[in-house]
Symmetry: C2
């Protein structure tokens, strides 16, 4: 680990790539942005990325860095490749870490967003002194980065830590992965909306949302109405928290972490964190009680992607 | 790791303690037995155990060993202690590894049966070249030893790897741990009998077992009748396999092992292994397909306890 040097974090999204220069203590001192979708070919993308990084370092008079860390969808850490990412312009297997390393001259490491977030928490956030913890990212999907004995678990394939696709409800909702009852179908933004409709179908609720078009119902609206006392929206949040609490208690039975960190948009739902905590407490095996905390990520939501990516260069 | 020396394996059960001298390649060359329940005080127990080990080594002209490994219920590896084991005569916390180490002069390591079995598979069995695998033990309970990157996962408490108490069916059967829907309630010997009665209550079956007393129904009888074509017994095995397959597929989503090894009495039920395999294949996330095998433990059932314990001395 080398955390006395600056590092560069690259957060690759379908639309844009955000790049940041991160000081040893975790402050993002400079950033720039590339349009990911403007590069159907990865080679000019890597050239412009390297050029941008060189300029950023020179502007800030930085001559040495720990390396470049990249967070990307469908990333495979052991090979440093992005594999068939459906929302990126590059098809097939792209060995981005190698490409960037050769063109930039700096060490480059690539991982998926959830693992990068786990590294970010470990280097700059609430897990700084922890050897065993889990990072759960809630959003479009549900991702996880599992740290055992100070290291992210990759397993034999490099694809360990897919807790969003652990089956929480046997025989439950069909998941887009082709199976049934995955956590993601109940705890992602999409899943929470499904929880709303599931509850609405099961009981008579008086809710103005039931008069709206189906496509208008989103997490933000559910949150807003829950705040105003809407019973259906409140129950949706409780139901989501109940299930997530079970899933997290199950994760503890696996690796006995010191903490589980949570991040992502759905955590803005009023009371969701508290419902998760209550269900987690109810469903945790007695022998683990008092040994593990649930915490929100200590990293600012708008910085975690760059900090997570940058920490990859520091830690691995 | 020192696997060029002999080691001693101590398997502590509620009734007896079985001790074996294990050659480097995994052959048990000598054994002796103590009555665990004859020792209400642990000190004379340790004295007699040491004396027995000394005699066994001398009888076999062994002057140097890798150490002594102990498998015991309620064992806590980090402290080398047995903590309030309900079926052992010693109450409270017994620091058996330390006691044995001081009295014998040999390194002593203590762990629970499932972790010991995982080490046994790693040193003497089917996991010899594996860095990532899981051992599942089915019996009175359901235990697990999880190996990540060549090491058993202990977590922050030392009690990681309690997959028998991962909740498989939210809101399901009450478990003796005080929670609901734990895997153990569906896949232990007790759980399988509950599966039998659950199915019997849900559908009209013609089975001679339904005319018997409730306490007469056990796994062996279910197995025997399944072999003779009894539909209720066959369905019980299929139901058990279906649920276990989901639980094992979930474990893969956690640590992406190369293999999951299974051991224990219930695996003698005809067709159970095949049903687990079929459900596992159906419920495994696509990205893991072809990367992980289900296997029966390669160690003989009557030797795994001593071999597992002995391997603790070799590996840790």
């Amino acid at each position: 680990m080398n955390n006395e040097l600056y590092s560069v974090g690259v957060d690759i999204g379908g639309t844009n790539t955000d790049v940041g220069l991160v000081a040893p203590a975790g402050k993002i001192v400079d950033t720039f942005r590339l349009s990911t979708q403007a590069y159907p070919d990865v080679n000019p993308y890597v050239s412009d990325l390297c050029e941008g990084i060189r300029k950023m370092l020179s502007d800030n008079q930085i001559t040495q860095i720990a390396g470049i860390g990249i967070g990307a969808p469908n990333a495979h850490f052991p090979t440093g490749s992005i594999d068939n990412a459906p929302n990126l312009p590059w098809t097939g297997k792209v060995f981005l870490a190698d490409l960037l390393e050769r063109r930039s001259g700096y060490k480059a490491k690539l991982d998926n967003d959830a693992n990068a977030a786990a590294y970010g928490e470990m280097i700059y956030g609430g897990a700084r002194n922890m050897r065993n913890f889990i990072m759960m990212t809630l959003g479009t999907g549900v991702g996880s980065g599992i740290v055992v004995d100070g290291k992210v678990v990759y397993g034999s394939t490099g694809f360990a830590g897919e807790l969003g696709h652990a089956i929480l409800v046997p025989g439950g909702r069909p998941c887009k992965c082709g199976r049934q009852g995955c956590l993601e179908e109940y705890a992602s933004a999409r899943g929470i909306i499904k929880n709303f409709w599931y509850l609405a179908a099961g009981k008579q609720y008086q809710s103005p949302l039931l008069d709206m078009k189906k496509e208008e119902i989103g997490c933000r609206l559910i949150g807003k109405n829950a705040e105003q006392g809407d019973a259906l929206c409140r129950d949706t949040i409780k139901y989501t928290g109940d299930l997530l609490g079970i899933a997290l208690a199950n994760a503890v039975a696996f690796s006995s972490p010191e903490a589980i960190f949570l991040m992502g948009g759905p955590l803005n739902l009023p009371g969701l964190f508290e419902e998760i905590q209550a269900s987690f407490d109810r469903n945790l095996l007695t022998s683990y009680r008092g040994t593990v905390t649930l915490q929100r990520s200590h990293l600012p939501a708008n910085k975690v992607a760059i900090l997570g990516a940058a920490s990859l260069a520091v830690v691995v």
